[in-house]
């Protein structure tokens, strides 16, 4: 007799100084994933603002089995935060998302549904299709985003419309397979993840998501970011797909 395996979703949320947002995001995840077996793995990089204290308060409300606090001593970067989180997940699916509420948990059911319908290895959120969108970007930011996207599409033929997005659902085994070979940092990290997955032939699907930019006023697209992006593109062009 075949025992049907139930799906469990582990949501990895890296945090640094997200004292308020982490509470809000946990509330919203629980609100939108009522009938789903999931856990939230919070990888906090030693936030000085008391993020971890708030997580402990959340333990009282939601239980320590649903919210796993797995901190690190200091700010060590996003890629390694995912790897660290992966060591503690018990689900067969892993969701990665930002802690600052630019990614809204209300889309989690659509990620899950898309994966169940298509059997995809990766479901990635895209901001650039109808049904998705961005709020909080000025014209310059939209221009650079669009220019970067056209360049990447022309050069890399990636098969996804949003390369730098970080709201994704992975089969755990697939995430483990890819993340071990990624070397880039920052948002090029996300590009490298999806390009490697695409080259390896993993089935990737997209769902529209809306993105509300929460980092008001900070210039995230300076000259050095553009250089970093171009270097990332060059690296991905000569990446060996094995």
């Amino acid at each position: 007799m075949v025992k049907e395996k139930k799906n469990k979703y582990s949501i990895i949320v890296p945090t640094y100084n997200e004292r308020l947002n982490i509470a809000l995001i946990v509330y919203l995840i629980f609100k939108h994933l009522r009938d789903v077996d999931f856990e939230i793995v919070i990888v906090d990089d030693g936030s000085p603002d008391g993020t971890q204290e708030v997580v402990k308060q959340l333990h009282q409300v939601y239980g320590e089995d649903r919210i796993l606090l797995r901190p690190r001593a200091k700010k060590l970067g996003l890629g390694t935060a995912y790897i660290h989180g992966l060591k503690h997940v018990s689900g067969n699916f892993v969701v990665i998302m930002d802690a600052d509420l630019s990614h809204h948990p209300k889309y989690l059911p659509s990620f899950i549904k898309k994966q169940l319908e298509t059997g995809a290895s990766i479901v990635t959120g895209t901001r650039y299709v109808k049904g998705g969108g961005v709020h909080g970007w000025n014209l310059m930011r939209k221009l650079t985003s669009r220019g970067a996207n056209v360049l990447a599409q022309t050069l890399l033929w990636p098969g996804v419309s949003d390369l730098t997005g970080s709201f994704r659902l992975y089969k755990k085994s697939v995430l483990e397979d890819i993340i071990s070979s990624v070397v880039s940092k920052g948002y090029v990290f996300q590009m490298e993840m999806i390009v490697r997955a695409s080259r390896k032939g993993y089935h990737i699907e997209e769902v529209p998501i809306t993105f509300v930019d929460r980092v008001f006023g900070s210039s995230k697209l300076g000259g050095s970011e553009i250089v970093e992006y171009l270097k990332g593109l060059a690296y991905l062009l000569v990446l060996d797909s094995n």
């Binding site: 004292r19 308020l20 509470a23 809000l24 509330y27 919203l28 603002d49 204290e53 708030v54 308060q57 959340l58 009282q60 409300v61 509420l101 809204h104 901001r127 650039y128 299709v129 109808k130 049904g131 998705g132 969108g133 961005v134 709020h135 909080g136 014209l139 939209k142 221009l143 669009r146 220019g147 996207n149 056209v150 360049l151 022309t154 050069l155 890399l156 033929w157 080259r199 809306t210 509300v212 991905l236 062009l237 000569v238 990446l239 060996d240 797909s241």
Partner: protein, 89 residues
């Protein structure tokens, strides 16, 4: 295989067509010599067009900011009642 190899193969194929055209003179030689320039310029224009069109149709969602604020208020109320510190930062 590296992705750049695929692009190279495509460029080599296009170049072979171009050389073929040069040798068989289906199109007058004068024009054939200029084809690569036309190609590159067209590619550039197409790219700019794609950027422009994409910029015009850039999906925005102003209502999402409002919805988010509502969600935040709802969350704060719930959590405050249960002893989670959601004091304004």
């Amino acid at each position: 295989m590296k992705h750049i190899v695929k692009i190279m193969v495509l460029l080599v194929a296009i170049s072979a067509c171009w050389i073929g055209l040069l040798q068989t003179s289906i199109i007058p030689r004068k024009h054939t010599w200029l084809l690569p320039i036309y190609f590159i310029v067209s590619l550039g224009c197409y790219g700019l067009l794609m950027v422009g069109v994409g910029l015009m149709n850039f999906p925005t969602c102003p209502q999402e900011a409002l919805l988010l604020h509502q969600d935040i208020d709802e969350a704060k109320e719930f959590l405050k009642r249960r002893g989670v510190d959601v004091g304004s930062e």
